[in-house]
């Protein structure tokens, strides 16, 4: 078997494993949610049973009562689906690692000089980041998002972006290719996991909203926007699996830590890119489309970091900014490579 075949098979194998992991982790999430809902219902039942008790103490009874029930629901956390999800994700990551390395061997250089290579390496880093976070804490609620993203990105990469490996063009023959691009990929992987946590945060948050009255709203526009909002809230309320996801504040904290690491790495990426451009093109910054977008991404995430500490922006609005940053990140890698002309265009398909 050649390195090329090995890489190809390993990557398809990883894609399949991630798909399984996505389904299994979604099933797991749904079960945890059911258990939590049931526990809540039982706790409420007990409170109403204790009916006569003074109102003030009702709440504390509820919290105390729920403690043992959640404890008894814990075994469900280690159900079969979770085991499958964890095993397939890990195996998928190992297999993908083989695929990425084999591609590097086949190409004779680091596997991140074309869009195809960037995709396979980037998704791999995202999964590895997730696995690292998972070692420390239970973040199984992120699993469907991360494995789902990996399945789609890898599948698209293999079918749409695949390109034969070639030698490196003179402009890419640099030690900075290794530094600049590898850090960019790691930052992207971390931002990806951060974006998944942020999406969950927003869903969890909006889910607790109540619907707004439509009839008494002033004009048609407000009514339409409220209807749209209410519809969203209803959809989110129907997603019981969101019960298995931690509270918005906790997700925010996790997302912030990821974004903070990602932002430092992205800052480094942009600076290293400038140093490299200075070596290769004789100017450190030339507002080439790729440079424009790297800058835009950086500024959006900086805005996110400021929004977190600004009254009226902390929470939902800052989360939206982080997601806009992520969209820009994906744009930078897709639209900017494929549509815009620039010095970076050799990174194209």
């Amino acid at each position: 078997m050649t390195a090329q075949e090995l890489s190809w098979l390993a990557l398809w194998g990883a894609t399949a494993l991630y798909a399984i992991a996505m389904v299994a982790s979604a099933v797991h999430l749904a079960r945890v949610a059911d258990a939590k809902v049931a526990a809540k219902a039982r706790a409420e039942h007990k409170v109403t049973a204790a009916g006569g008790a003074a109102n003030g103490s009702a709440e504390s009874t509820a919290t105390r009562a729920s403690a043992p029930t959640t404890a008894s629901a814990t075994p469900a956390l280690h159900d079969k689906a979770n085991g499958i999800a964890k095993a397939t994700t890990l195996m998928g990551a190992l297999l993908q690692g083989v695929g990425v390395v084999a591609r590097g061997v086949e190409a004779g250089h680091v596997p991140w000089s074309t869009m195809y290579e960037y995709t396979i390496t980037g998704t791999w880093v995202a999964v590895v980041v997730f696995l690292i976070v998972q070692r420390k804490r239970d973040v199984s609620y992120l699993a469907p998002g991360v494995t789902g993203f990996a399945t789609i990105a890898l599948g698209l990469g293999m079918t749409v972006l695949y390109a034969q490996s070639t030698g490196l063009q003179p402009a890419l023959q640099s030690f900075w290719l290794i530094i600049h691009v590898s850090i960019a990929i790691i930052a992207t992987g971390i931002f990806t996991v951060g974006a998944v946590a942020t999406v969950l945060q927003l869903w969890r948050d909006y889910r607790d909203d109540s619907e707004l009255p439509v009839a008494d709203a002033g004009n048609a526009l407000t009514r339409a926007s409220r209807r749209w909002r209410n519809w969203n809230v209803r959809v989110l309320k129907s997603w019981t699996w969101l019960e298995a996801v931690p509270a918005p504040a906790k997700l925010e904290a996790l997302a912030f830590r990821l974004h903070a690491v990602g932002f430092v790495l992205w800052t480094f990426t942009v600076m290293a890119g400038a140093v490299w451009a200075e070596h290769a093109w004789g100017r450190y910054w030339g507002w080439d489309p790729k440079e424009v977008w790297s800058f835009v991404i950086w500024v959006i995430y900086a805005a996110y970091l400021h929004a977190r500490t600004t009254q009226g922006w902390a929470g939902r609005r800052s989360a939206v900014l982080a997601l806009i940053g992520f969209v820009a990140l994906i744009m930078n890698f897709t639209v900017v490579n494929l549509v815009f002309q620039g010095l970076h265009s050799y990174a194209g398909v």
Binding site: P170, Q173, A260, V264, A280, G282, Q311, F340
Partner: protein, 542 residues
């Protein structure tokens, strides 16, 4: 004067009427966090058109074409700065405001920080109930407990200032009038330092870039193998310099291109470009130098970058009198990845008759195709030049500088063949062709390569790098540095020994932002060391 909260960082006094009041209010607005945030978002949005629309500084040709193709929108976008976004008034306004805001924000904070560092940390709150306190009984004396907590929290070693807490201990009375030793430990000074360093470094980057645009010079020169270039403004094909750069600062070194190596793969993709050259600096021995795409040549504080390359066919052209009217290498500009190259030969100095001009296309590896001959590979496997000859007036005497890569056809007429059509003659390496009507001959002697160099000197680069490193370090300190408070209270009064014989009940609590849950482990660790009792790690709450 009422106080109005603008956001968590700035308080503005709602002004009484009056100019100074309004000015102060405006300044407070500009330096508020919310305005900084909005300006950042505006900056991101404003940059996007710069990647979507063609831009004058990046690609003048495309921009021209865009304006021609859009007779209405082209000029409108041009006039409103959308075709030079990063030099436009509105983009400049956004970042100038942002940096004004930044300076207005950072200067007072440096002062506050300085005063904070020199003053003691705030005393521990009298009650710790709000912070989920932990209580541990120990048989150690209160003073011993607090002293060991202090040592633990202050840290040790030379980097103590960076890693440790700032600690204060008070002996005071608690609410019931009982004497108590209260330790208060704060961490966050490193984080704030990082934050200030980061923002100040951003200003440094801006200043360095601005200074760079005043002090930089850059020039382009094209050198054919075997030729020599002397560093002087007149020798450059194009030359730009910042307002503060003086031409007298150019050092007259000499660069000669000995050989240019280009390696292409079988598919035609370039694999390696290397220019071998000899550099002679005034008063020094000549030395051999090499330039590659990522490896510029260093000379006299400047760098010489290898920017492009191509073929420069060498011709000998005789005129109708049989005299040699032209001899030399003519750089042909590659038009595509397989080095289909075009060039122009101008022969003004004919001994008699009209001037001669040629338009030529070089195919390094000519092959036949449906659309006519094309090049299949950039290497010189089957080089053919297609020549088209013109006679007439080249227009060189008009005094208007001419583009060496273009033929001004206004006063020229093409040389026609027997069929009356303009003549297009293929010419192979080493061949000589005779032009019709006794106009003369053209001989293709050889094909040296040329290298296009870009020379640039920007004395601000070290400053820029320094500011960038500062920004990165500051950012890391600011984002990863902890902001934590830990308090430990140990009552001093005589206490009844409890059932387990332990007398001192130590209370400890901690606070940190929501994302920093590890602070509880630290609190437990300190409490364990200070009391000698293992404190169970508190379970992480939901």
């Amino acid at each position: 004067m009422a106080r109005m909260k603008i956001d968590n960082y700035a308080y503005a006094d709602v002004p009484r009427l009056g100019v100074t009041g309004w000015l102060r209010w405006t300044w407070r607005q500009v330096t508020s966090m919310r305005v900084a945030l909005i300006l950042l978002i505006a900056l991101a949005l404003a940059a996007i058109p710069g990647s979507v629309l063609p831009q004058w500084p990046q690609n003048a040709g495309d921009t021209r074409a865009f304006i021609d193709a859009n007779p209405f929108w082209g000029p409108v976008l041009d006039a409103t700065g959308f075709l030079d976004v990063f030099g436009s008034a509105w983009f400049t306004a956004i970042y100038v405001l942002l940096f004004a805001s930044l300076i207005g924000c950072i200067v007072p904070r440096v002062g506050v920080y300085w005063r904070e560092l020199r003053s003691e940390v705030p005393a521990a709150p009298s009650r710790l109930d709000r912070y989920e306190p932990l209580e541990v009984a120990t048989d150690r004396a209160p003073a011993q407990v607090i002293e060991s907590a202090r040592t633990e929290l202050s840290g040790s070693g030379p980097v103590r200032w960076f890693t440790g807490y700032r600690v204060r201990v008070d002996e005071r009375e608690d609410r019931d009038g009982m004497p108590v030793l209260a330790l208060s430990a704060h961490k966050g000074h490193v984080r704030e330092l990082g934050n200030l360093l980061f923002h100040v470094s951003l200003i440094g980057i801006l200043v360095a870039v601005a200074a760079g645009s005043l002090l930089t010079y850059r020039g382009q020169a094209l050198i054919v193998e075997g030729d020599t270039f002397t560093n002087a403004v007149v020798a450059y094909d194009s030359y730009e310099a910042g307002a503060l750069f003086s031409e007298d600062d150019l050092d007259p070194w000499i660069l000669s291109l000995d050989q240019f190596d280009a390696v292409f793969g079988t598919t035609g993709l370039p694999e390696d470009f290397t220019a071998h050259a000899t550099l002679t600096e005034p008063g020094k021995e000549p030395r051999e130098v090499e330039a590659q795409v990522n490896r510029p040549i260093q000379v006299d504080g400047a760098k010489i970058y290898l920017q492009g390359n191509g073929y420069a066919p060498r011709f000998t052209i005789t005129d109708s009198a049989g005299e040699v009217a032209f001899q030399g290498a003519v750089p042909f500009l590659p038009q595509d990845g397989v080095y289909t190259s075009t060039g122009v030969v101008k022969v003004p100095d004919v001994t008699e008759g009209e001037q001669l001009g040629f338009k030529a296309t070089l195919l390094p590896t000519a092959v036949a195709s449906d659309t006519g001959p094309i090049s299949a590979h950039p290497d010189l496997t089957n080089p053919v030049i297609y020549l088209q000859a013109y006679t007439g007036d080249l227009g060189l005497d008009s005094g208007v500088p001419q583009n060496v890569y273009q033929l001004d056809e206004s006063q020229l007429s093409p040389v026609r063949g027997d069929d009356g059509e303009p003549l297009l003659v293929p010419l192979r390496l080493g061949e000589t062709i005779t032009l019709p009507d006794g106009l003369g001959t053209v001989t293709w002697e050889s094909v040296p390569r040329f290298a296009a160099f870009d020379l640039r000197r920007d004395p601000t680069l070290p400053w820029l790098l320094g500011a960038s490193v500062g920004a990165l370090a500051g950012l890391a300190l600011s984002l990863f540095g902890a902001r934590r408070r830990i308090w430990v209270l140990a009552p001093l009064g005589a206490q009844e020994p409890g059932a387990d014989g332990k007398t001192t009940v130590v209370t400890a609590a901690a606070w940190a932002p929501a994302h920093d849950s590890a602070v509880r482990d630290e609190r437990d660790g300190v409490l364990t060391t200070a009391t000698g009792t293992q404190v169970a790690t508190s379970p992480e709450e939901e």
